[in-house]
């Protein structure tokens, strides 16, 4: 029995008071929309509705729940009372902190982020073919792709190609970008509640961008795009690679051969930035006949992992569900396009597991990669 008394455990608040957090949840009337759509609820007992109700009655969010939430924001999308559950989770993480053993891959990406924050310079060194120009006012930042190549140990997945494709595309439309060496954008630190680490990279990057004199910053990753555009206060134009391509697609000389393609709306690109149409327009321009998921755009289910927290059986089940959805749309050997390096990483990771886990022969590709492959223009 749950006992509510004067002696109830008081939430271990660091920065926010218990009542401030409660206020975030107060409008909830327990309709259960959040829980009925939650991708994690489909594979586990994770229950946003109950977490909210219990928190109102002074029961803190368990560490299990706190680290499981994907912050994919589908719950906020469907909430008739606009309860921002992901933000509640983020602030709660910030309040209590998350212990290292909750992070996947030996916590490596989290640690790199922290180290990067401490370092005096970015330390990111990129090596791409093609034309770049440090004086160009259009910059390209590839993000963490080389780190993923180094530490994720995937045999058939080439993260580097994401950046190479972007540079190829920019060259094809006649631009030699300023290949800018920023620190990690800090998205994961922000969403795991480590605002100290986030602030460190943000301050460095903001300063760096300001002093570089660029006017446009192009990125390939949905998280970079969301973080630079929404969380940072920059006075440059931030473009997701799909937006850049959309503006220049006439110059790319697509062959126009049609092919079937599935497209997954990454949460940071879709629900967070409301960018649903541009990636589709770009893919259609390449000749893609997009076979939509039944639940697409704002209703898209998450790829399965967020901020390198907890990659477990639940995550795997969600990822496999995504591959199953893809197979239903475009067949078992079809292609799924994504606009986010993270989705690209997680889904390719589960694809490489192979037997006996599954038999999917699906290819997961990043938008820039597809565009580069289908464009006939020369760099």
């Amino acid at each position: 029995m749950m006992v509510i008394s004067d002696q109830s455990p008081i939430y271990a608040a660091v920065n926010l008071s218990k009542s401030e957090l409660k206020t975030m949840l107060s409008a909830c009337y327990q309709c259960s929309s959040c829980t009925s759509v939650c991708p994690l609820r489909r594979v586990s007992k994770f229950n946003p509705r109950k977490i909210i109700h219990k928190f109102k009655m002074d029961t803190p969010v368990s560490e299990e729940d706190l680290t499981s939430c994907l912050t994919c924001s589908l719950c906020l999308e469907v909430c008739p009372q606009e309860v921002d559950f992901p933000e509640f989770i983020r602030l709660s993480r910030k309040n209590v902190g998350i212990s290292d053993d909750n992070f996947a891959h030996h916590n490596i990406f989290n640690l790199i982020q922290i180290f990067m924050g401490e370092m005096t310079e970015s330390g990111m060194k990129f090596d791409f073919q093609g034309k770049t120009d440090p004086t160009s006012n259009i910059a390209y930042f590839p993000g963490c792709i080389d780190l993923f190549d180094r530490f994720l140990d995937l045999k058939e997945t080439d993260f580097h190609q994401i950046g190479q494709s972007a540079i190829n595309i920019m060259n094809k439309v006649g631009i030699s970008p300023n290949l800018i060496s920023l620190k990690c954008c800090g998205h994961d630190a922000y969403w795991t509640g480590d605002e100290g680490a986030y602030d460190q990279v943000r301050e460095y990057n903001t300063q760096f961008i300001k002093s570089s004199g660029i006017s446009t910053l192009v990125v390939s990753c949905a998280e970079c795009y969301y973080t630079f555009e929404k969380l940072y206060d920059l006075d440059v134009r931030v473009q997701h690679i799909s937006q850049f391509i959309d503006e220049n697609k006439e110059k790319l000389g697509f062959k126009g051969e049609t092919y079937d393609l599935a497209y997954h709306d990454a949460c940071r690109l879709g629900r967070f930035m409301k960018e649903y149409d541009t990636p589709r327009n770009v893919l259609k321009a390449t000749g893609a006949n997009i076979k939509e998921f039944t639940l697409n755009k704002q209703f898209t289910k998450c790829c399965g992992v967020s901020a390198w927290l907890k990659c477990d059986d639940n995550s795997r089940a969600i990822m496999l569900r995504k591959l199953e959805e893809t197979a239903q749309a475009v067949g078992n050997e079809g292609t799924l396009a994504v606009g986010c390096t993270k989705c690209f990483a997680h889904l390719n990771c589960v694809l490489e597991d192979r037997k006996p886990q599954h038999n999917f022969q699906i290819k997961v590709k990043e938008i820039g990669m597809i565009v580069d492959e289908t464009s006939s223009s020369k760099s």
Binding site: S5, C28, S36, R49, F299
Partner: protein
Amino acid sequence: MTEAKKIGSVAIIGGGIAGIQSSLDLADQGFKVYLLESNPSIGGRMVQLDKTFPTLDCAMCILGPKLVDTERHPNIELLSYCDPVDLQGSEGNFTLKYIKKARYVDEELCTGCGICEEKCPVWVEDDFNEGLTTKDKKGREKAGRKNISIPFPQAVPKVAYLQPDTCRYFQEGKCRICEKKCDAGAIDYTQKDEECSINVGAVITTTGFDPFDAKEIDRLHFGDYPNVFTTLQFERLLNASGPTEGEVVRRSDGKHPKKIAFLQCIGSRDLSINKEYCSAACCMYAIKEAIMAKEHDPDVEAYIFYMDIRAFGKGFEEFYKRAINEFDIKFINSRAYEIEENPETHNLLLKYEQFMDSPSIVTAEMDMVILSTGMDPSSQTEFLQERLHLELDHNGFVKTDPIKPIETSVPGVYVCGVASGPKDIPDTVAQASGAAGKAAILLKDVRGSEIEEKKYPRAINVDPTDESRIGVFVCHCGHNIASVVDVKKVTEYAKTFPNVKFSDDPMYACAADTQLLIKEKIKEHNLNRIIVASCTPRTHEPLFRSTLKEAGLNEFLFELTNLREHISWVHPHEKGQATEKAKDMLRGAIARTCRLEPLLKEKIPIEQKAVVVGGGVAGMTCALDIARGGYPVYLIEKEDQLGGELLKIPRLHNELQGEMIVEDLVKQVNEEENITLYTGANLESLSGAVGNFTGVVNSQEIKFGAAVLATGAEPFTPEGYYQYGVDSRVMTQREFEQQFNETDPKTVVMIQCVGSREDEAPRTYCSRICCTTAVKNSIRIKERNPDANVFILYKDIRTYGDLEELYLKSRQLGTVYIGYNDDNKPIVHSDGSVEVFDITLGELLQITSPDLILLSTPLVPKPNEELSQLFKVPIGGDKFFLEAHVKLRPIDFATDGVFLAGTAQYPKFTHESIYQASGAAARVMALLAPGYLLSEGAISVVKEEMCRGCGRCEEICPYKAIELHEKEIKLETKTIKTVKAFVNPGVCKGCGLCVVICPVSAIIISHFQNETIEAQVDAILLKSEPTGGENEQPSVEAP
């Protein structure tokens, strides 16, 4: 500047049920009414409904008569298909400009025969049927509507209209089929929109609502998945006159759905689409539709996905329970968010979280999904704001003050119905009467100035023994009758009867030129009786009767034979036999008509005064309104002080103070010369009936024509519930409110539905206001001390309409709502701790040591038995007074001249009591205004010498029109004391029940006497020949 002259007419903007009720109430009082309706027919949303909750009355059957009354009322001018465009002037004298939209059909000439509609080659979307089309067995689209059409069969006015945008002639310059086919010559392609203006003293806005457009919410796939419907569409599917003739079928394959899901709160209670309010009626109509689906097909499984079932009105909770227990409707407390379609079967997959019984995410496969769409402010509301300068509230409805719930921000402009916020039909009707009352009070000095009472010539004396000289008019009704019945043959047949002195076959019997013809022929042939063989008396008898009166014939010397509904529409494929049947019917009518007698509608003078029993907020408001309308009122209050229950409520949910409202009203009552106040007094005895009551108050005799019962209600004392009376921490919400300032609780538990929504009568009902009271008190506690913990244990939170915003505020302040159900009621332990099984968590909770446990108890009626007996008015199973009809007569009793208001009818909020009281006042004024009652004419007559005074007629009479009187009878040799039945002609409606029940045949009903009916039946069956009066020779048999 001198004050502009007041004008005795009122414009009503909106012809739905609210506008219709306001119109009738005002017109009955002698005001000229202009009823503006933007659509081609009046009737509003209610005409689209199949049935109404909670009585499952057929909507059209109860509204239809009101539509006809509105059309036929001499003081109402229907301005259909008109849009208001501007309002100038001020209270008492406005100029309203409006656009009379071109129908391309002459309203005067069109007879509504429907031939244009039949012949028009263009199909368009049918908005009356909510755009529904269905496929027939061959896969062809069924239904839809023709481009020129009558909006629906019972439309008023029954006039066609044409839409030029989709008309072949207007778009392509050729066609003109409707013009060629219209025998009445009513088609007029040259019509233009016309700007007109009227002068009126007051304006009532009743613009209603637009259903929320479900297309605004992507995830519902409305308009995309074929088997997703709205509730209004489902009404049309259920309806026998709908596009499927009442067959519930799927749009994808025409199959009958076996599993139907209703999704609640579509477009309501949803901040993400800016609809914070609850639409107040959707829970009930979903339950109704689920029940109807079951009645259509017992194999249907119906599921209602809800968050709170808001069954807060009279009879609603009981209806909800019936749905569960009797109809096995499944109620699922969860918002099913995801809808996916199986592309092959077009079945719909709903995913929802099941709270109880193995909690999980469930996928339910449904054959059909119905969206319970909410009410948006009408698109016309914007006009009201811009042109009438009415202030709107933040939701876009017309803004009103809680203590002036009918008045808008512009003096002389009133509002009622959904225009001022979501409400159901009874509340709308009560408020509509109230709006009529307010306008009547404003214009009382100019009442009757804008209307002309129709003068008729003195009636020709027709003696029953005079030779019957009958005129017969057999109507073609365009092709409606003539295409099936050989009208010429029937007309010739009529001529074979010796009493028939004239017969003819007009194209349209109801057309204006035919009325002239009838009058002419009455003179020419010295006719003393008329038969029209055409359509239904319900719509057309009053017209012909008035034609007879104009010709100087008594209106009862008329008979209508229905060749359309009874013959041509039901036997379209049996033409020969149809003509024979028409002859049979006509033969019967002739036999009957020969025996008709002239009858007088008696004017019975009445006492133009009223009594109001009960001096609470409802009673005082009602008395003030009647008094200000110009009629003396006796206000009788049992206590020594006016004010009633409101005095005991320090603060209402809207921040008003009960005492202040009462103080203000008492001051007004004391200043009102027309009110005679009796406090500490009871109505001691009563005799008489409508129009002429005599009562005794304080041993003083008072005479009055009408009465309003506003005796109120009081909170239930929860003896024996939850340690009440045992533990001092346990008290009612009311007790807490009264000591609010002396308390400072740290932890408060409130328990809802204590003594209400029970399984056993009398308190099976939901008390409507207790949820809001708890919400209000939680807000007051949290606002005073944000650290206080407030837990509300509830079954459903029923904060309907904009009260939902208070519920949100309470949650935002941190009140915790814990759902419980009847299987696991909360327990208050002797140590004061509260145990509750939280249904949303599926866990047992214990709240230790609360400082206060507040019980939300229902309002229960005051003991009303004595008044019930005095006024012969019924009390319902819930012990509240029982109104005449819960839907359309919420403030009338079945007994004429007695009305009800306030919580004596059912628990309600102060603002609702106020508008209902104004409504009751309007009903009283409408009754008193003429100064007399007009008897029905065709009423019961007691043959006194045969009556043995058994009293069975008195018992059975539904209108309380019969009383037993003692009477001394002088016989040849002695005088005996007897008891005789006496019929009050002002009350009798001529229903005939007494005639049937009388064991000694002492009662007859004039106009429908046994021998008249027998002669008619015999003639139809050819048992005897149709003949004239008794002194006449039998006529020859017809060939």
